[in-house]
Structures are given as C-alpha cells and as structure tokens.
Symmetry: D3
C-alpha cells in the first residue's frame, strides 16, 4: 500500500501553467502533485566559445531548489559558494535530455538556457524539471519560428521524464517524498514520444534489482510518460 | 508623466497570497504590480554561535533573484560561486529591518530565516521583500504562539518598505523598472506603523537632491506604507 | 555626556596628510581623531568592458581594514577567500559617492580607482574614506590636467561624509567607536559642497527615529561636512 | 568493425596489480587495456558527523584524472578551485556502488575512502575505478579482519562495472576512447556477482535506443563483468 | 654602479617607528629606504587546534601588499578570492623565521600573529617584514612579561633578514626595486644575532652562481643584519 | 646512525622509468627509494598572455600529492577548493628551476608544462620532482627537435635537486621521511651540471646552522646530484 493511497501505476495529478513569468521567452509552472517547478527558457545569441561560428545552436539546463522548497530549510548554494554534486548532476541531465530532441543545426546560432527552479519539493523534482523544460523550450522555439528568427522547427519530438522505484517490494510509478526516502531502488527514465529511451538512471543503494525488475520499472515509466505527453499537449494548446 | 500612467503618489496594486508553499512555517507571494517575491519564514532551534545560551532569538534574511526574473537572463550566483555585493547589501537590509520590530528575548531561543526569492522583477524587489517578509514572519510567529513554543508575542509592530525617487524632476512613489533605470534619485524607506523610521537609503548617482527633496520623498513613502500596512492586515486576516 | 567629552555637534580633529605614498597618482592619510585611513587614487587607461569606446571614464572604490586596525584582530579577507557583505557595501558606497561629483565625459577614457585602507579604526571609517578619497582623486586629476591628459576639470564639486547618531537620546555628530557600538541609531550622510545630498544611509536596529530626528541628524552632518570641506581645501593648498 | 579490431562482446585485457602503494590499507593499479587507474582504500576511525555514535561505518569514493592522463592536457581541478560536475558525478557513483555490497553495521565505526586516480585514460575510467576500488576495499577489509578490528566480514558480494554502447549501430562491450567519442549511446552498468544490478546509467545524446537495445547492452555487461569478477578473484588470490 | 649610487655593501637607511597603531599589543612601521611595512603583533589566547592543551604557544605570520604599494596598482587578493602563491610563500617564511627565536613552552598558551602589511614597496618587502615583525613581537612579549601573563622571556635571540643579489656581476647588499628587477641572482637571508643562519633562499632564474658566489652573498647579509640588529636595539630602547 | 642504515653521504637507489604514460610528449616515473613521482611534460602552442607574440616560449610546473601518497590520507586539494601554500611553493620552485636551463628564444612559441604527481611519498618529493621533470622535458624537447618544430636545442644543461639536512648533529644526504620529520635543519639544493647553483632553500625551524654547516650541506648535495645526473643520462639513453 502506497502512503498516498495511489495504485502502483498511478501518477500524481499533473498540471502545467504556461506563461508563468513575463520576461522569459517560454515559461511554465509544472506540478507533479505537491512538487512544483518553475521552468523558463531564455534565448540568447551568445554561444559557448567552442560552438561559435559553426552554424549551430546549443541547449543547456540549470537547476536549483529554493532554500525552503523542502521539509527543513537547506542552505543556499550561492551562500555556500558552490553548487552541490547533486545539483550539477541534475542540471547536466536536464541539458542532455533536452538536447536529445533538438536539431542543433536547425536551431541556428541561438543558445537556449532552461532554468528549473524548484518552488516546492515532494519527490521527483528532476523529472518534473525535464518534463516542464520541454514545454518552456517549445514555447520559446514557437516564438523564434513566429518571428522568423529560425526557418524550420528544430524540435524533433516530445520528451518527458518520470521516476519509478521499488517500494515495499512492489514496483511503483512517480515516487513522492515519503516513498523516495524509503524505496529499495530508484530509477529515473527520460523517454521520447514514440518509444525511444533517452536516458536511464537506475540506482540501488543497499537493495538491488535484476533484469526483470528493470523491465518492470521501464514499463511503468512508459505509462507515466504517456500521461505527461498528454499534459504537455494540452498546455501547448 | 509616469510611463505607467500612475499619479506621482500612486502605488502599484499590492497583492499578498499567504500559504504559498506548504513546508515553510510562514510564507506568502507578494506582488507590487509585476514585481513578485516569494517570502518564506523558516523557524529553527539552531542559533548562530554568538547567541547560544543567551535566552534570546535571532531573525535574519536572505535574498536572491531567479536567473530569469529580469528582462535579460542573469547568471546564477551559485554557479558563479559567490553572492554579489548587491545581493548581500539587500539581505543585510532585510534582516536588519525585520529585527527592528522583534523583541529577541520574547522570541526565545529560535532563529527565523526570511528567504526572499524574486520570481519576477519590475523594480522595488527589496521593498516588496521586506513588506512580504513581515507577513511570513507574522504567520510563523503565530504558529509558535499557537503551539505554545513561545508565551508572548515578540513582534512589536508592523513594518513595510517602499521605494521613491525623483523621475523627470518630480518625486514619485513606488518606482517600477522603467522609472528606476532612469530616475535622478532613488530612495528606499523602511517604515514602522505609527510613524517611526527604521531605515533610509537615499542615493543620487549623478543628480542630487536637497533637504526639501528628502522630506518630500519621505512623505510619499509614508503614504505608500500606509497602503502596504492595510494589505498586510488583510493578508493576515 | 559623550564618552570623549565632546559637545554633541563637535567633530573630532581632522587631519589630512597628502602624498603619503610615492607611487599613487594621488594619496593622503586622513584622520578623524584615532580613525586613520590611507586613501590612494590610481589612474589607469584600462576601463571596465561595458564602458570601452564610449569616450568616457569611470571612478570606482575599494575598501579594506588591516587585520589589526581594530580592538581585536579580525581575520584577513584574502585568507578567508571573500570580501564580507560589509566591505562590499562600503566600497560600493565609496564609488557611488565619488562618481556623484565627477563628469565622466570630461574625465575621458581613464579609470580612477580609490583604495581606502583603514590603518586604525575608531568609528566612522567609511565616512573618513569618502572624505579622504576626494582628496586623493583631486590630486590625481590635478596631475592629469597638468600633463595635458585631460583638457577640462571633470570634478564638479567637493564631497564629504560624516556619521551622526542618537546617543543616549541625543543627536550627536561624528560617532567614535564607543558611541557607535551603543548608539540607538546610526546615519551616514554624504554631502556635496553647496547643500546637496548625495547619499543618506540611516539605520535603526532596535530603536527607531522619526522625521524630526532624521532632520536633526542631517543638520549635524551639514555642520560636520563644512569642517571637512575646510580641511580638504587646506590639504589641497 | 571496431577500431581496435575486437569482437563486439570482447573486453580489453584486464590486469590488476595489488599492493601498488605501500601506505594505503588496500591498493591496486587496475588496467582495462590502456586505461589505468590507481585505486587505494584508506581506513580511518573518523566518521562523517551524521553517523557518529550509531555503531556503523561508511564507505565513500573520490575520483580524479591526472592532468595528462588524456590526449590533451586538462587543467588541474585544484588549480581551478573546484571539482567539475563530471568528477562529482563519478565519485558519487563510486561511493554508491561500493556501499551496495557493504554491510555498514558489520563494518563497525570505520570509514573507508576509495581514491581512484586515473593515471592514463582510454575510455571507461569510471567503470575501471569501481572494479578496482572493490579490490582495494577487499584488501583493506582483510586487514581489519586479520587485526581483529572487526569480527565478521562486512563485504556481501563482489561488484564490478563496465561500459557498453552502440557503435555504428552495433551494441559493443567495453568502449575505448575512439568508440566512446563517437558512440550513439553510452551505458555504464554496475553489477553484483550473482545477477543483481546495482546501477544503470544509460545515456543517448542525439541518438536514442529502445527497450530491446537496453536489454542487449545489459547482457553484454553481464558477460564483461563475469570476466572482471574472475580478474578480481585472481588478484585477491 | 648601483642605480641608487650606494656602495655594494651599503644598506639603505633603516628606520623603525614603534607604537604605530594603538590597538596592537606590539607594532612598528619599518622602513628600508622607500620600502615601508606596518608590522603588528596580536596576542590571542586562542591556539590552532593541533596545539591546544599542550602547554605551549604559537607564532604565525601574515603578509599583504596594499594594492597601490607598487608602481602599478595590483588587484586586491580579497577581491580575487585567494592569496597568491607569492603571498603564501612569504607569510610562511615570516612565521617560520620568527618561530626560530621563540621558545614555545616559555610563551605558554598564547598565539601571537605577526601581520606585515606593505604600505609602500621598493624591493625587500619580505626581509623588512621579518625584521620589523621581530620588533612588534618583542614589544608584545614585553607586555606579557610586564602583566605577569608569562613568567620568563620566550624570545631567545634577535632575528633579522636582508636580501642580497648579483647585480651587473657584482654582489650587492639590500636590493631595491630597480636592482631586484634586473639582478642575475636574488638571495634572502634570515640571520640570528650571533652568527647562526635561520633560512637561506637563494634563487637564480636564468643566470646562476657557484659556491663562492653564495658565500659572498652570505657575508654581505651578515653585514646588513648587523645594521638591522642595531636599529632594532635602538627602536626597543 | 641513520634509520635506514645508509652512510651520511649515501643516496637512496634512484630509478627512472621513461615513457610511463602514452599521451604525454615526455614522461617518466622517478623513484628516490620509496618516493615515487610521475613527471609528464606537455607541449602546447598556447602561451600565457604576457608572452604572446614575443617569439619565445615558456616552461612551468605543477605539483600535487595523491591523497594516499602519505602515511595518513590527506584531503584532496580539488575538494578543499584550493591549493595549499606548500603546493604552490613547490610548483613555483619546479618551474623556476627548469627555466634556469632552458633558452626561451630557442624554445620558440611553445609552452611546456611539467606535471609532477606524487604517487608515493617518503621524503624528498620536491627534489625527485625537479630531477624527473628534467627527464620528461628532455624527452619532449627531443620530440620537438625530431619533428622539426624547433631548430636548435633550447636545453642548456642538466639540472637536478636533492635534499640534505642535519640529523642528530650530522649532515646527511637525501633525507627520507623518518629523517625529515626530526631533522634539525632541512635544505633543498637545485644544482646544474658543471657546478653552478640554481637554487638553495635552507631552513632551520628551532635549530639553526652556521656558514660552515651550509657549506657541508652544499657539498653533500653536489655528491648526490652527480649520482642523479648519471641516472638521467642512463634514462635518456
């Protein structure tokens, strides 16, 4: 029995509120239940040095938790003077995932930064970030297409992410904080609409799982991402 | 004529939405027009070393802008590895201001951290932060009183802040970004309900003002803060 | 009664010794009683990136306390690896204040850095820094005029600063350390010769003051700055 | 055809030279072909603060590349003043993996740090690190058992890691640098002797893979790890 | 011929002004010609962790250049966020040198920090620092003896330092900036009154010297230190 | 009697294994007994800014200890976020020493970085580093000559370094860890084949030495370096 009373293959309610901030070229507030992440897409003409003059663009991600997004207050990374290993790992994942569905040549010499700032955390912040970042990216690219800054759509597919885990011996979809903190295994899947996998990060600290277990988690993730793709569709309109 | 069409002594609409995040002991999203700041109050039993065992509490503030709160994306302070001078100046001001209306003995051995994170910026982020932080503090202290953690109310008064400036030669209240970036003088006032001043920071870079000008700005601020005190009352209910 | 036996409107003795170091384009050791600050002006042709090629100059300030300028030794900021919020706040104030009396077009493409290093501290180090920095700046600009590097004088007025506060209920001028550490309110005024105000920073932590109190502090500051302007005149000769 | 001429399911030669340094409680130089990593295990009685007095131990990992381990010299992280996101990600993986096969209660109040320093890199440095770290850990724990510092063996199983990828459309085992830099997908598997999975990190940047692809990579990894388990056995003797 | 017209074995004028700052337990401004260093000795009861409870004291040194001590302005180490290798090398030398003449048991559980801040630089700042630090230390220790905080004198001898070098083929004493920047070899000697050597740092970048050269430089240093010992005597009175 | 049983003027066995890593333009593993240092020379066309376009090259050094090179594990400098003063002092010495035997004009616009990473430490790591760095440099320069990148040999002589000290009152050559940690004086000599001195760093912390003592240490160093020059010759072949 899950603490939230959800069925093993049941996602939390997904909501995506677009246009959450007025300055960003694309933005949304995405919620997976009580997990809320503000995702913004910022378009700049300034590329990283190693890409200048190559006729292509770049997509990168940044991630942060507000200090009191969590049960107890965490110290501010800016005050500590560095980003944690966890933060860096997550923002590398966000950037890598979104790049998997962007044709950099078609994007032209633009850099799009996807900022994912967690307003409230209840498990699954990295997967909500990726799923919301795609919406912000879609909106920003729509603007580039509309203004004529780029000629053809560089986005090749939808992408979404969800966490799954083994909780009390049962594979479950979309772990919340209570489950995440006591799960035997924790896996994040980044999936592309149509059945392809962009990334799997499946970890067992203490307990472990076998080939069969991995397959069952992947299938739950496919169900969850189907829901997220629908929510993305609805948000974009 | 102000770019927004407001009268010289007209505040932007103020809104304060309490309970914006579920984990913080007190929280609100305060808006001065398009400026939106998430203020949370976190209560901890851990005091700074120099206050331990003295039978008193502490109130401190932290401040940050989300990278895309502004017209163009700013780099993340956590990524740069340090907080800017501006950030530090503002968070010192927030802490100092709120401490002006708290009796540290009555607070007992609790530390309350007021986190002010700017979601969207359109001028006046530090004054909105102080005004919203008071609401978050009030809510957190109400919780401490209700639970019996403290016996008497340590908050001695309401406090609010507003910016004023001289725009095209005219003193105006509550500068927005368009005004702020071209004002001749810029003054932030932190005022206590009842007529006392907690802090004045009045700056002229290039242009200057005289004693008369300072008084006119102060009177505008008194008008603005009267409105904010009403909004605080309404938010607390 | 003030600890020093001074009258409420009495400055400490001011002395300004010019040419204190041989390498700087302008320098002085300024003393407000036992507070001693070495101010140097360094002229460079290298401008900050955002000003290059705009036909104008820049004036900036830096501030530091020697570790044993104070009663007890403070750790060295270079060893700690960052400047404190207080240091950054003060050096931003120094730069902003001096820029208020410099015509950047007339200065041409030169940057002048005003380094204020506190040799001995007894209250009022930031106001002594600003007052001394003006002398160092004046001497450096005199050199530029003499050598023909610039054609017309970019300095538009004298500027000086002094602290005032409410000590045991009485407004007093030029707080020394004993007063500063127990004052009810503390205000720093940066004034321009002729009656204009460049900056007010008036703070009450715990106690507060009203409009009348602010005016009385401002008038004390005007008296104090009149003395500093005379000392600046005498130093420049 | 692989650049090295290897069959798709062929590992590079594995060698493990134990006792490579005299000070460490356990050490080895592990080679996967031209990739060479020095792994040391250091036993200390000092635990991280959150574990003190709980009657259990801790295992953690650190990772670094020597500046000229690679084709072109990389700048030294100590000189840059921080560890890269990649480094932090890898060392978190090393610690997590090894903890999956250690019973922390049986380890008692000891901390074992596994330092993995890459002497020469040719792809697969993180998987060689994990595989070698297990050997260093085994040797260090043998010492603790022999000296009587701990009573029962805290190591529950062997663990090994290997990378697989899709190269020119074909799933291949144990990518070297030439393959790694042009592979369509890259997956690191950390496997436990007996068939359990400790960690999967499978990434597609640009290209993607499906469920079938993931399974094929996992089976290659199982073959590779079988070889590594044998090499570990032989090294331990 | 030396740029200054001095004879090869001629020191610049040495002056030592004691009591230069009022807060430090010992202080002096030492000048070797135009090189001026403020040396302060601060006595604290707080020892470094590794010495606590061992019934002995510690002496350490810190060193810094004011930004405009030199011909062209150097950036502030506190602003850059770290101390240069040169600064660290010098402050390690200062501490090591002074410890060579202090009996740590006799000092008791006190730490004395010798801060050497270069007000104006014209070559030989590290040697002036050591020579002046001894005077500041002597004054601080005199205070401890007078107050009864320690019973017997922990200072075992005088110590002084001077630089020598080979300039245009001739060994010369007490290099000034003009000589230092073009010398073939540069050697700093730290000598103890009575003929013992505490430290030699002799460097040749480009040119070199032989055993005979080293001896000639040492003998010049012995002459220079004899003068410094006299100046120390006179300063202490 | 020395702990190792060596005669006072007896070096530990020296071994130099060239070509230790495949990527570096020159490399060796040098051992002085149990002290083992990996030295690599990396050739780059990128020069430091102040040398660009001057028709000359540059040689620089970097130094690090692996965390478990020593008896007890030292924390990683990259994790601490800065290099220690000791590390910086040593790497400055390595660079300066090697530059003493390179004609920068003949080197042309190439930068050679000598990385010295201590694999195992038993005293004398900096002197082994310098001695091994010369071999790595020699191999890298041979490559430049062979490829025609430079026309004439920029290396003007062999250079080697060794430590000496006074142990139990007796001057001894090539201190190992046991001697180093209890020696009365410690001196590092960097000598050039043919009798010239590049650098002397002789320190007495606590005990001291006189002119005669310095000479005896220098003569021991000359004997030790003669052995190292032979080993370098043999390694280069």
């Amino acid at each position: 029995m899950r603490p939230s009373g959800r069925a093993p293959d049941e996602m939390r309610p997904i909501s995506i509120e677009t246009g959450y901030t007025k300055h960003a070229e694309g933005s949304c507030l995405i919620s997976f239940g009580d997990t809320k992440v503000l995702c913004t897409a910022s378009v700049e003409d300034r590329l990283p040095p190693w890409l200048r003059g190559k006729g292509q663009g770049w997509v990168t991600g940044e991630y942060s938790m507000l200090p009191r997004a969590t049960h107890t207050r965490g110290s501010r990374e800016a005050a500590r003077g560095k980003q944690s290993g966890r933060t860096q790992e997550i923002q590398r994942l966000i950037g890598r995932s979104l790049r998997a569905v962007v044709d950099m040549k078609a994007l032209g010499e633009h850099q799009i930064t996807l900022d994912c700032d967690v307003i409230q955390a209840d498990g699954g912040t990295r997967t909500a970030s990726i799923s919301g970042a795609w919406v912000a990216l879609r909106l920003a690219v729509n603007g580039l297409l509309k203004s004529g800054a780029i000629a053809s759509d560089p986005i090749t597919a939808k992408i979404a992410a969800v966490s799954c885990g083994i909780y009390n011996g049962t594979p479950v979809l979309d772990l919340d904080y209570d489950e995440d903190s006591s799960a035997d295994a924790d896996a994040n899947f980044v999936l592309i609409e149509g059945g392809q996998i962009a990334e799997v990060q499946a970890t067992a600290e203490g307990a472990t799982y076998d080939e069969e277990g991995l397959m069952r988690l992947l299938r739950l993730a496919q169900m969850g991402c189907a829901d997220i793709f629908k929510a993305q569709d609805k948000a974009i309109g």
